[in-house]
Structures are given as C-alpha cells and as structure tokens.
C-alpha cells in the first residue's frame, strides 16, 4: 500500500473537516439545532413540563352552613395546592368538572357536624377527582383527604378520636431539598438536546450528502470511506459538546440548577453519550439516504425514546417490565442517570463508569452496523 493509499490520511481528513466546519457555520439550521433549540427546549421543559402540583382548580361544595363546615372550607382555600371554587350545589360542580374547568370536587355534606360525632353516618367529606389525568387525580384525592384529616386532628375537641397516627411525619428530601422537579428535569433536557444534535442533525447532514449527490462524488475521489465518515462526525461531535456547555450555562445561570459535579465529569459523560448518538444518526442516514425519512426515523428512534423512556420524565423503575427492558437499550437512559448525579450530587465516578461503559457498548453496536451498511459502492455490494 503506497503513501497515497493510506486509509486515513491526515491531509485529506483535515480538508474534509474544514469543509464540514465551513458548511456547518454557513447553515442556519445548524445554529438553530445547536444553540437556539437547546435554549427553547430548556425553557419548555423548565416551565411547561412542571411535575410539581400547585394551584389546582377544585370545587368545594358546602351543603352545610355550620361553623365547622365553613371552617373546613376555609382550610381548603388556604392551601397552595388548590384554587377553590366555592359552590353550594352538586349539579353545578358536576357541570364544571365535565367542562374541565376543575380537577376535582370536595363535598362537605349537610350533616357534617353529625358525621364528626358519629363516623358511622359516612365519611367526613366526599372527594371526586377527574380521572382523565391519573397523576393529578391521585394527587387531588390524597391532598384533599390529608387536609380533612389534619383539620379533624387539630380540632380534637370535636369529641371524636381520630384514627390518625399520632406520630408526626416530617420527610427530608436530599439532593433536591425543594423537591423541585425542574432540578431533575433540566439535566434530563440536556440529554434530549444532545440526542437532537447527535442523532437528528447527523442523520440529516449525511442524508443530505446522499440526496444531493455529493456523497457519490466523494466516494469516487481518492478519500476512503473512513476518512469521509470521520470528517463528517468529528465536527458534529465538537458541536455536541458545545451544545452541552451552552445547556449547562443556561441551566446553572438562568434556572439556578446547581452543578455539583465538575466540568471534566460533564465532558466525559457527554463524550461517551455522543458516540452512540452519532452512531445512530450515521446508521439512520446510511439506511435511508433521504433527509425526510432520516428526520422521521431520528425523531422516532432517538428523540421519542429519549423523552419517554430514558427516565427523564417517568421513573424507569415504575415502568411496565417490557418498557423498562427497552429503556436499558437506549443510550440516553444512561446519560440521564449520569447527568442527574452530576448536577444534583457531584462527580460520582462509581455511577459514571458503568454508565459510560454501557453507552460505549451501544455506540460500538451502532458503528458496527453503520460501517456494514456504508460501503465503498452505491448498492452495497
């Protein structure tokens, strides 16, 4: 093999990287995906995907005018969980819940005073929740019940001995003391953004070369397939890391998410994640050779699983078993794990190493498949 025929020639590789970088800088969509999109996504996840429950609209239907009933109603209005619509009749409340104006109904019965002294008459309050959104419904039920019980407990002088536990529980939350979901979500959002840059952008730019016929011209030139691919991927690898840093800056300085780990740790796990992400993008583009299809497949196989199955929003351990198994095959699961530790706990290398290992393993698989489908010839023979 002569000097000209090296599989990896630094001068040719450098020329390809330079070309890709120039293209990247000139293409407004690159800027959009790498800089603007992360910021938009972070804002969206920070504000729209808020798992904390506050100010839920409910109706309190008070059928009794007794002082106790009024006091109980006031207790509901007084919490930050609910915004109370005071009503007197059940049919009106039902109408409101059907229209979706309220999430639940608390019925304070006409014989509240009697029920306090004689529990056999029925429960203290009747709670109806809108099951259309199960999580919210569960929360409405629990919170409404808790409020009634604590009200009863504080007013022991009503004559009834409540069967509440007499030990007061005071939970302490570590790592995210304010249990703000934003803090857990934003590191997850970074994983989503990186999936977009790594998989979507890469799939599209490689598919674009196929579509425009430039790949054909490249393949007929003396550069090897390996050179072409590395020349393509390296700039996007760096762009991905840049995206991570931008996201981190926004997360720390705008959303005040603490970064307890180090920048080195962040770059290490991000680099490890970019391997499978880029590999997946490459595989998709090699298989489709069409920008539209590549974008669809990248969204379907990259973005959606990263959003739904990586544990970013939904806890993986509470998923049905088949989905939980699938979640282990998704590189972003491991990345989300790492990022959460990195932001909320610190550099826990005991967590990072196995995760990095899994990501590299999945990456190796993707590259193996991509290399098999990117051949020297156009019909793969």
């Amino acid at each position: 093999m002569s000097e000209r025929h090296k599989i990896l020639d630094s001068a040719r590789l450098f020329a390809l990287i330079r070309k890709e970088t120039l293209q990247m800088l000139r293409d407004p969509s690159t800027l959009l995906v790498a800089v603007i999109l992360p910021i938009i996504l972070l804002f969206m996840f920070a504000y729209a995907v808020n798992l904390d429950i506050k100010n839920l609209p409910i109706a309190v239907v008070r059928q009794s005018d007794s002082i106790k009933a009024q006091d109980l109603e006031a207790r509901y209005s007084g919490t930050k969980f609910f915004v109370v619509h005071p009503l007197r009749e059940m049919p009106r409340a039902k109408e409101e819940i059907i229209r979706g104006n309220i999430r639940g109904i608390v019925l304070i019965p006409a014989n509240l005073d009697d029920r306090i002294s004689n529990p056999s008459l029925g429960p203290l309050v009747e709670i109806i929740a809108d099951g259309a959104q199960p999580n919210t419904a569960r929360f409405v039920g629990n919170a409404a019940q808790f409020i009634a019980q604590s009200w009863l407990f504080e007013n022991k002088n009503f004559g009834q001995i409540p069967n509440n536990p007499m030990i007061e529980m005071e939970p302490r939350y570590w790592f995210n003391a304010e249990i703000e979901s934003r803090r857990a979500l934003i590191p997850g959002a970074i994983a989503i953004v990186m999936t977009m840059i790594g998989t979507l952008l890469t799939a599209m730019v490689v598919a674009r070369e196929w579509e425009r016929g430039t790949m054909e011209a490249m393949m007929a030139s003396p550069s090897s397939v390996i050179e072409i691919l590395i020349g393509k991927l390296l700039p996007y690898f760096l762009l991905g890391l840049l995206g991570t840093i931008i996201c981190t800056i926004v997360a720390v300085f705008m959303f005040h998410v603490p970064l307890r780990g180090s920048i080195l740790g962040l770059l290490a796990v991000s680099s490890a994640f970019l391997i499978p992400a880029l590999g997946q993008g490459l595989l998709i583009s090699a298989a489709t050779k069409n920008q539209f299809l590549a974008a669809q497949l990248a969204l379907f196989s990259g973005f959606l699983p990263a959003t739904l199955l990586s544990g970013f929003i939904y806890e993986r351990s509470s998923m049905p078993l088949p989905l939980e198994i699938i979640s282990y095959l998704i590189p972003s699961s491991y990345f989300v794990d790492c990022l959460r530790s990195l932001f909320l706990v610190g550099d826990v290398w005991a967590v990072f190493w196995p995760n990095i290992g899994y990501m590299l393993l999945i990456g190796a698989f993707f590259f193996w498949r991509a290399a098999a489908s990117t051949t020297r010839t156009l019909d793969g023979k």
């Binding site: 425009r212 011209a217 007929a220 010839t377 019909d379």
Partner: protein, 586 residues
C-alpha cells in the same frame, strides 16, 4: 486516418467485456463490451434507463458488476479501486459539489483530496479558472451559480490531479446551448492533451459531435463507432417535403402510414422523411404530388440513424385525438400575454412579455435556464400571480376569472409530476375528480385513457415504478381527461427515447388537428422544430418570436449557410449580449 491507426495500437484507456449488471429483476447492462481510447471523446448515448449511468458508475468504482472484465487506466476497478480513483475524474449526474461552499473552497477541497501539492496548486487553479472562465466568481457560493457555470466548476473539480480518464455523466442536462458550447470546447481541449473523455448523454445532437459513440438501449450496445459512419448508412434515404405548411401535419400522418416510410417528423415548415432501405417510393411521390409539394433529398442526422437502428418510428393515428372531438373556443386567441411581468424581490423574472397564440397552434417557449420560461408558463397556468400585465387563457383573464381559465387548460408539469403514493388508477381518478368529472363521464374518460395508452397492466402500480414512457403517457392522460382546449407541456419529452417522443408527438399533432392549442417548453432543439412558432426568451425578455424556419434564416451568414435551431439560439443570445455590452459601455 493516420491518427486513428496510432491510437488503436495503444492500449485503450478503458476496456470492458461481458459486462452485466442487474438490479433486482432489472437488467441495467446486458453483456456489453467496448473500448474507450486516450485522446478521444467518446459519447455514451441513449435514452433514460438505457444503462449509461450504471456503466459510468462501474467505471468510477462505485458499483460492482455482476459479471465481466473491466479495466480503467490499466487497473481493475474492483480489486485496485484506489489506483483507479487516483486516475479518474468523475462528475456525477447530479451536481456533485457543495452548494454552500464557494467556487474556490470547492476547488481547494478537491485539490487536497487529490493531494495536489500546495506548490502546484496555484498554477493548476489559475489554469482551470482561466479554462472555465470562472476566475471572476471564485468567492461566489456554488449554489448561486447558473446551471452552466455549475457544470464548468464540476468539470474543474473533476480535473484536479490531472486524471487519465474523465467520466462525465450527462453534463449537458440543464445547461443551455451557450454554456454547452463552452463545455464542448473545454472537453475538446482536454482530449487533444491526450485524456480519454467519456461523455454520457440522452441528446442525440450531442452524440453527433463525439468522435466515437457507444449507443445504448435497454442495457444493450446497439452501435459502437464513429457517429458519422452510422449516419452515412442513411445517405440518400432522407428527404424534406416542402410545399404547404398549413397541412403538413396531415401529410405527415398519411406518409407515416406508407410501408416505404421508416420515420417522419415535422421540421419547421417542412416534413422530414426517412425511407426504408431499397423502398419503392412511388406511393410517397404520389402523396407529395397530391399535396402540391416537392420532395428534396437532405443530409441524414444521427437521430434518423438511431431511430432506423431501432426499426423505425411509430406510425398510425392518434386514438386520443380521434375521440377528442373538435374544440370550440370563443375568439381567435387561445393564449394572450400583454406586458406580462413578474418580479421576485429585486429580480425581474418575466419582463414585459407580449405574445398571442392562435387556436390550434403549437407555440414553443425556448431559452436558457433562468430566462423566465417557467415563470411565464406558471403565470399562464394560474400557478403564479403576475406582478403586472394581462394573462388570458381561452379568453378568460387569469386575474379575475382564474377558475374558468384553469378549467380550460390542461397542464403537464416537468418530470411528469405524479403522485407516487397513489396507484396509476388512483392518479387518473384524482385528476378526473380535480377537474370536476364525475359519474359515468368520469368512468368513461378513465377507461378511454387506460385503453388508448395501454395502461391496463400497470393500474395498481405506483407511477414511480413505470417505465419513463408510460409515466409520460400517464401524465398526459391526467392533463387531458377534461378535454381542455389549451394544453401546457413543460419539457414533456425530457429523457425519453426518440421512439417514445415520436409517439407522444403523434398524439399532440392529432390534438392540434382537432383545434387544441399547445404551449410547450423544451430543451430539445429538434422538438422546437415541431412548433408552428417559437418565442425565445432571455433575461426575462422576449428576444425573438417567429416560425422555426424564419428564426434559422435570421442568423444565416456566409460562414453559416445552414444553421440549426441550436445555432440560431446561440447566435440570437450572443446578439443580445453584444447589444447589452454596447449599452453598458455607452
């Protein structure tokens, strides 16, 4: 002759034999063989789907043949692909350069990939830029270049590293005749330097200019040798019939029915006839006499020879035209443009264009890319709103009676835009529905189209899977189902073989006899000759409007006694350029 002998002694630059390549059930190349010599321009000629691109890609190491021996610059493209790549320049069919890189950046990239040393680079660049006349545009993004300039840049990049074999896959597509002439000049220079240049094309007039051609059809080699030698076989068999241009289409129809006639087409106001070898011409002479015309021998063209090689052109009447019924149209003018102008931002795409098209006329719109043909066409079809001026179709003003105007026209878009997710039958149903046909009428018209165009066996297939000729038929059916009095054809026969093109024009000629008005844009100069009148556009303006014969006559000089349509085209544009340059200087 001496020269040929010397070249034949040397080992050919490209050699292949028993070459076969299949894609699934399609046989792209069927046991072909050939030799391309250094210092020579070889044309690979044939319609779309003939196997030209497959052959090019095999030579460029991008496809592996199923079978056969190939040698490119003395290397085996399969086993020694790296050596082959070092010795070839390849320009793929689609513009293979980066549109978001500048001219210079593209050249730099290819120079580095081909390992041209920085020392030699500047010299080479200067030469190539001078050669392609791209020197003033080095900073311009490749995507902003005109079609012709793009191809020249592609050629410059393919020439980096001074290849021994240059493979150009349809470099003439989308390039206007002026730029095409430039490309030819460049390629001729290269061959005289000893390079082997392979140029594939579906334009037969391009083939005529090659030193040697390989004629491909359906994966087989029909002819291999000098084009003139093939054309010579037709010497004495080609005639022009002159006399009564008004009835020339009917005369052609009658002539094509005669067993002695192999092929016939309209050429300006004349009819071009190719007789079968050793045929008895009595019937033809009688026909010519009865039409008060005369028959004069003429020089054979390469296209005549190609059609003859394929067994002659189609004959017969157009069933489509027969069923069509006579067109009723109010007023004299089928199409009218008055001061028609379209401005996009600062760019005037159509600039004060005026013309009228009479009922039953075939009106051609010609011009280089970006001349404003498509914009004008789209305004007349109601697809674009004019900035100012009047556009009327069938007497209806497109500004205030667009619906009426549109229901009076049929439009066959470029590249036969069909819905690939619908089947052939569904495409027909959709078009019929769009034009408001329903019930028994809709069924009848669809059945009629299926019968006339033999679409039966393709009814459930996707249009994408059809042979090009059938795609074209389907597109024509879809445009005609509502029997419009005016038909717009945007490059209707681009890429199809000459036989299919003739079949298509038999239908069009038949429709014209029924009073249908045809508006057509084309890149084929022969096709321009089928028109009654031709409007030539350049820079958004109408620069000439006349019959094809008069246009050709207008550029006759001592040096150019017998100009072709292409000559006329190039000359008329050159005159405008000269005028503009003068105006600028003054």
């Amino acid at each position: 002759m001496n020269e040929t002998v010397i070249i034949n002694d040397a080992k050919p630059a490209v050699e292949f034999s028993n070459l076969t390549k299949t894609f699934g059930a399609t046989i792209a190349l069927d046991n072909v063989e050939g030799k391309f010599h250094a210092g020579r321009l070889t044309g690979i000629v044939g319609p779309d789907g003939a196997g030209k691109t497959t052959l090019m890609r095999i030579l460029a190491t991008l496809l592996k043949p199923d079978n056969g021996n190939v040698s490119v610059a003395n290397f085996d493209p399969e086993k020694q692909f790296r050596d082959v790549k070092d010795n070839i320049g390849y320009m793929p069919q689609r513009f293979g350069l980066y549109e978001d890189l500048s001219v210079m950046e593209n050249m730099q990239l290819y120079a580095k990939l081909r390992k041209v040393s920085p020392k030699n680079r500047q010299v080479l660049f200067d030469r190539l830029l001078d050669f392609t006349r791209l020197a003033p545009f080095t900073a311009r993004l490749a995507g902003r270049l005109s079609g012709g300039m793009k191809q020249k840049l592609g050629l410059a990049c393919a020439l980096m590293g001074e290849p021994k074999v240059l493979l150009l896959d349809e470099p003439g597509v989308g390039v206007d005749p002026v730029s095409r002439q430039d490309l030819w000049r460049m390629v001729e220079d290269l061959t005289s330097d000893g390079m082997a240049v392979v140029w594939s094309t579906s334009y037969l007039d391009e083939a005529e200019k090659c030193e040697s051609v390989m004629l491909l059809n359906e994966g087989k080699v029909l002819y291999d040798g000098a084009p003139q030698k093939l054309t010579d076989t037709l010497e004495g068999r080609c005639f022009l019939i002159n006399g009564r241009p008004q009835i020339r289409r009917q005369t052609l129809l009658n002539a094509l029915k005669l067993p002695s006639v192999a092929d016939g087409v309209i050429q300006g106001s004349s009819i071009r006839i190719v007789e079968r070898p050793n045929a008895d011409l009595t019937q033809l002479r009688d026909l010519v006499k009865s039409r008060e015309s005369i028959m004069i021998p003429t020089k054979a063209r390469f296209e005549d020879a190609f059609v003859d090689l394929l067994g002659g052109g189609p004959s017969g009447e157009s069933q489509l035209a027969k069923n069509f019924g006579d067109v009723v149209l109010n007023g004299e003018n089928a199409v009218l443009c008055q001061d028609l102008t379209k401005v996009f931002g600062e760019f005037t795409a159509t600039d004060n264009v005026n013309f009228e098209v009479k009922k039953g006329e075939i009106f051609g719109l010609l011009g280089p890319n970006g001349a404003g043909k498509s914009t004008t066409f789209k305004m007349l079809c109601g697809l674009l709103q004019p900035t100012s001026g009047i556009a009327k179709v069938a007497g209806y003003d497109l500004r205030n009676a667009a619906r009426e105007a549109k229901s009076n026209l049929g439009y066959m878009a470029q590249k036969f835009s069909l819905y690939s997710i619908l089947s052939v039958k569904q495409n027909l149903e959709f078009s019929a529905g769009v034009y408001g046909l329903d019930g028994a009428l809709k069924r009848d018209r669809i059945d009629e189209m299926i019968e006339i165009f033999h679409l039966q066996k393709y009814l459930n297939a996707s249009p994408d899977s059809l042979p090009l000729g059938f795609k074209q038929r389907l597109a024509l059916s879809c445009a005609l189902m509502h029997r419009p009095p005016v038909l717009f054809l945007d490059e209707p026969t681009s890429g199809v073989d000459p036989i299919t093109r003739r079949e298509f024009w038999i239908h069009i000629n038949g429709l014209v006899e029924r009073g249908v008005t045809i508006m057509v844009t084309t890149h084929f100069m022969e096709e321009a000759e089928y028109c009654d009148r031709v409007a030539m556009m350049y820079g958004g303006k109408l620069i000439a409007l006349d019959t094809p014969d008069e246009l050709k006559k207008s550029v006759v000089t001592k040096e150019m006694q017998n100009p072709t349509m292409e000559d006329a085209f190039i000359e008329l544009i050159a005159r405008v350029d000269a005028q503009n340059a003068k105006a600028k200087a003054a």
